[in-house]
């Protein structure tokens, strides 16, 4: 080894392209450089693409971090976050940050990304006017959605639609403004754009097409309040998101005298005019093109790393790109030139009712463009044909029906993964081929999409190839993996689905875990953390008195009857019927807090009191001293029944909602279920108990009670659906109970009512509970029978099969040998 000091590499821009280059470089030459990174954002490198699912509430910021702080440390990289570089001194070879921090370089890598383009109109600087580019923007949008109602997104392209969808998912009224008459005009043809618009409208988005925005109007506090169009129309807007395009961020490079023209000009080796300075990512213009998608940027990163590592053999010669829209439930894919022209031919397939549209554009017997809507399974294959420029005259007749149909009619779909060549690309974002995935599955024994993601990076960026990865898993594992989603095994311990397991338990009167696992030939001796709790629930819900509850098959919260906290202590939430309490209860709670030195007391979002930070050894005593029933805040069971004050006090109250709530809670508590169950009763349609987002919501009206079911206020808010209208308290108990028993009998473990009803259909539930009087009474009777001898685990632990040994640690004393 030569003892020469390491060269210094400085990266400006701690984003997707720059850090990917470092990853590639470290693979090739881990010890060549001393690396310093400057990033203007205060975060480690994260997956910008997934800001859309974060906005839609499907993922968290923590989940989208690509390289955490440890990664930089473990690789000896000096990271300066929150520091923007303002000057590059190419003569002294130093970079200088806003706060004065300096770093010297031998090689410099620019990856400054791009800036969102803001319309230069009056009002563009008002509060509440945002772009959509980074975590800060996303947080600002989430914050605004909590406070305000009306959002306007300017720009009907990819980013604008993802922003609009996310804001809608967070409950805002969203209008998308677009200057043209078709959405995503650069990625879609008119027919596909129309279908897309229709399905977005069905999801509750509003569109203002052919509209030119002229001005943003301010309220008295300097916040935007409305958008005015060139035709004079005004619409309300407390949040405006501009998503009309991006501009390569070249200011810094320009100030350093590097040639730029719609991007920092780079050669095929990603070098700028100064050979010590490289540029990758959205800020770079290669052969006149600045790319705005990650797949080409990752290709650039590979080439750049190759040169930085002094291998000198990589050449970047541009990329063909394809587009997918990441709105859950909408499948859309486009690539190449799909608008065609005089010398092209088109093959189209349109099924407006089924919501499927496909168009393939062909020139000189070659596929040059594809636009798919509704069914995108063949997107990757078309994209491959397109990039390879392969002649398609021999497969022309079946081209439209996809790869699976090549020479093997009749096996639509399932065969696609099998038919794919090993070098065919599956994950466009990360450039992962089928062969790589198959190898990883075989060599490392992977059997879940998650594992494939961790090992190969496939499906870890935008996620749109997840379906294909599943197919590859299925075809590689054969019998070990169930092919059709309708029959997904509970976990890797079995090939049986939730339904099949339930049926087996019912039909064969299986009443213990060991018997069930033996009968169904479980692949593991006692299951895993996924299937054991599920089986235990199926056993006790199917055979209430006969089956034996196994505490070791329950997640810790249900085993300890308290919620575990991040420091290993527990929280205790006693039950307060219908949210009503009194002086002596409150006094007891206060005494318990003092006696056991409980650090935090909090009023929960479910109208009761949470004692946080209780030591496990103290739990039994805390329960005893509280002398209140278990609130089951830890269980897949009935949680709270929220109520409002109702007709007893409230000047608007039409019904005694508090009493109704207490009656429901007393009838249903101790009820275990596939997932947690929450109820609410409001005394009038003002709905102060938030009945509209509960598993069962009850709203008092003059003539009785309206019942709503399958609402959810959690990860994704779903408004409860109207179920029926009833007159008496007895009816409310019977109908609510019957609906919940149906869910208890048929729901998959960890499926909330919203997902259960989504799966079986509201009409089905209505048939079973509303139309079938006998059936309803039988359901209600079965529930009452199941609850008849269900114990309160806090006060009847033996009866509730609580293993009390867990509350006392085993004490041992180390006596030294000499003693």
């Amino acid at each position: 080894m030569n003892a020469k000091a390491k060269q210094k590499l400085v990266l400006i821009g701690n984003g997707m392209a720059g850090v990917r280059t470092l990853e590639e470089l470290l693979k090739l030459a881990p010890d060549l450089y001393e690396i310093t990174v400057f990033g203007a954002e205060p975060h480690p490198n994260y997956n910008r693409i997934l800001l859309s699912p974060v906005l839609a509430g499907e993922q968290t910021v923590e989940q989208i971090v690509l390289n955490d702080w440890d990664w930089y440390r473990d690789n000896g990289i000096t990271l300066h976050t929150g520091k923007k570089i303002v000057k590059i001194d190419r003569v002294r070879r130093r970079v200088i940050a806003e706060d004065g921090t300096e770093a010297a370089y031998d090689r410099l890598l620019l990856a400054t990304g791009s800036n969102p383009f803001m319309l230069p109109i009056p009002g563009k600087d008002l509060d509440g006017v945002l772009a959509y580019r980074d975590i800060a923007d996303t947080h600002a949008m989430i914050g605004a959605a909590q406070k305000y109602k009306h959002a306007v997104v300017i720009g009907g392209g990819l980013l604008g639609l993802e922003a609009a969808n996310g804001l809608r998912a967070r409950g805002m009224d969203v209008t998308v403004v677009h200057v043209l008459d078709a959405l995503m005009e650069r990625q879609l043809d008119a027919s596909a754009a129309a279908l897309l618009k229709l399905s977005l409208e069905q999801r509750g988005l509003t569109f203002a097409m052919n509209k030119k925005t002229q001005e943003l109007l301010s309220d008295e506090h300097g916040r935007v309040r409305a958008v005015r169009f060139a035709d004079g129309e005004e619409i309300p807007a407390e949040l405006v998101v501009m998503a009309i395009g991006i501009r390569p961020n070249t200011a810094l490079a320009e100030s350093a005298g590097l040639q730029c023209n719609r991007g920092i000009l780079v050669s095929d080796t990603m070098q700028t005019y100064d050979p010590r300075v490289y540029a990758v990512g959205e800020c770079a213009a290669h052969r006149g093109i600045a790319y705005g998608l990650v797949a080409p940027l990752f290709e650039q990163a590979k080439v750049c790393a190759n040169h930085l590592a002094e291998f000198g053999i990589g050449i970047y010669s541009g990329s063909v790109t394809s587009t997918k829209l990441k709105v859950t439930g909408i499948d859309l894919f486009s690539a190449g030139d799909f608008n065609g022209g005089a010398d092209t031919e088109e093959i189209t397939l349109a099924d407006p009712i089924g919501g499927v549209y496909k168009k393939l554009v062909i020139r000189d017997d070659k596929l040059i463009g594809a636009c798919l809507y509704g069914d995108t399974t063949d997107g990757a294959w078309y994209f491959k044909l397109l990039r390879e420029g392969r002649k398609i005259d021999d497969i022309r007749d079946t081209l439209m029906f996809g790869e699976a149909n090549l020479g093997d009619a009749g096996h639509a779909g399932e065969n696609r993964a099998v038919a794919m060549a090993d070098d065919a690309e599956v994950c466009g974002c990360n450039g992962v081929c089928k062969g790589t995935i198959v190898k990883a599955i075989k060599n490392q024994g992977l059997f879940t999409v998650d594992a494939v993601r961790k090992h190969t990076k496939a499906s870890s960026s935008c996620g749109s190839c997840t379906g294909l990865v599943e197919q590859i898993l299925a075809s590689t594992l054969g019998g070990d993996y169930s092919a059709t989603p309708a029959k997904k095994p509970i976990c890797a311990c079995t090939s049986y689905s939730h339904e099949e397991v339930r049926a087996a338990i019912r039909e064969n009167k299986l009443t213990s875990l060991m018997a069930a696992m033996a009968f169904m030939e479980w692949a593991t001796p006692n299951g895993c953390a996924t299937c054991r709790p599920a089986l235990n629930y199926y056993l006790i819900s199917t055979w209430p008195h006969a089956a034996k509850d196994d505490p070791q098959a329950r997640f810790i919260n249900e085993r300890a009857h308290a919620n575990i906290q991040k420091d290993g202590t527990y929280s205790v939430v006693p039950r307060m019927w219908g949210g009503i309490t009194n002086a002596s209860e409150l006094r007891r709670i206060a005494d318990v807090v003092d006696k056991y030195q409980i650090p935090t007391v909090k009023v929960t979002g479910g109208q009761r009191i949470d004692l946080l930070g209780v030591k496990k050894e103290d739990l039994q005593n805390v329960w005893r001293d509280l002398d209140m029933p278990s609130g089951h805040a830890y269980a897949k069971a009935l949680r709270t029944v929220k109520t409002c004050v109702g007709s007893e006090w409230c000047r608007f109250g039409t019904q005694d909602s508090t009493r109704m709530g207490i009656e429901l809670e007393k009838a249903l508590w101790r009820m275990y279920a596939p997932h947690k169950v929450k109820l609410a009763v409001s005394g009038c349609p003002r709905n102060c108990a938030e009945s509209g987002i509960k598993d069962v919501g009850v709203i008092g009206v003059d003539s009785g009670w309206e019942i709503y079911v399958a609402g959810n206020g959690g990860i994704k808010t779903d408004v409860a659906q109207f179920f029926c209208k009833l007159k008496t308290h007895e009816e409310v108990l019977e109908y609510a109970g019957a609906f919940l028993q149906l869910y208890r009998e048929e729901g998959h473990y960890l499926e909330r009512t919203v997902h259960y009803v989504g799966r079986v259909g509201l009409d089905y539930c209505k048939r079973r509970v509303l139309d079938d009087t006998e059936g309803r009474r039988a359901l209600w009777a079965r529930l009452q029978d199941a609850l008849r001898d269900e114990a309160d685990p806090w006060h009847e632990p033996q009866k509730a099969a609580v293993d009390l040994r867990q509350f006392a640690p085993i004490k041992a004393v180390l006596v030294e040998e000499s003693a």
């Binding site: 001796p525 070791q552 098959a553 180390l814």
Partner: protein, 123 residues
């Protein structure tokens, strides 16, 4: 010999089948003592290599435990996290004789060399 090197902890039946107990030794970090379905006994430092979750509170399946906080799966015989997660909880030698469970004193005292602890599965 048993007396000198091994410290009596409890009876096998004091640990739930497919479950765990916490062992507390004055001045030492908590130890999680596991019992598998087939009555094998393992002991690990009661701290998950991920973010320190109490492994004793997890679900025991086969010779593994799933951490209660973020569901990492830890091998009981080595303390190592199942791939692709990386990291390990220190393991302690245990033996079970005539239904009684003993911990190796040197391990419990924390004086065993790390190399000797690579795996603590005792036949």
């Amino acid at each position: 010999m048993i007396k000198r090197d091994w410290l009596y902890i409890c009876r096998l039946d004091d640990i739930p089948v497919s479950g765990a107990r916490v062992v507390r030794i004055e001045g030492r970090p908590d130890i999680a003592l596991f019992r598998t379905l087939d009555d094998r006994v393992f002991a690990l430092h009661d701290r998950c290599p991920h973010r320190g979750g109490p492994l004793s509170q997890g679900i025991v399946h086969g010779a593994r435990v799933t951490c209660p906080l973020h569901a990492w799966v830890i091998n009981l015989d080595s303390g190592r996290a199942v791939e692709p997660d990386v990291g390990a909880a220190t393991c302690f030698r245990v033996r079970c004789e005539n239904g009684e469970v003993f911990l190796h004193r040197a391990d419990a005292r924390g004086t065993t060399a790390v190399a000797e602890r690579e795996t603590c599965a005792v036949a």
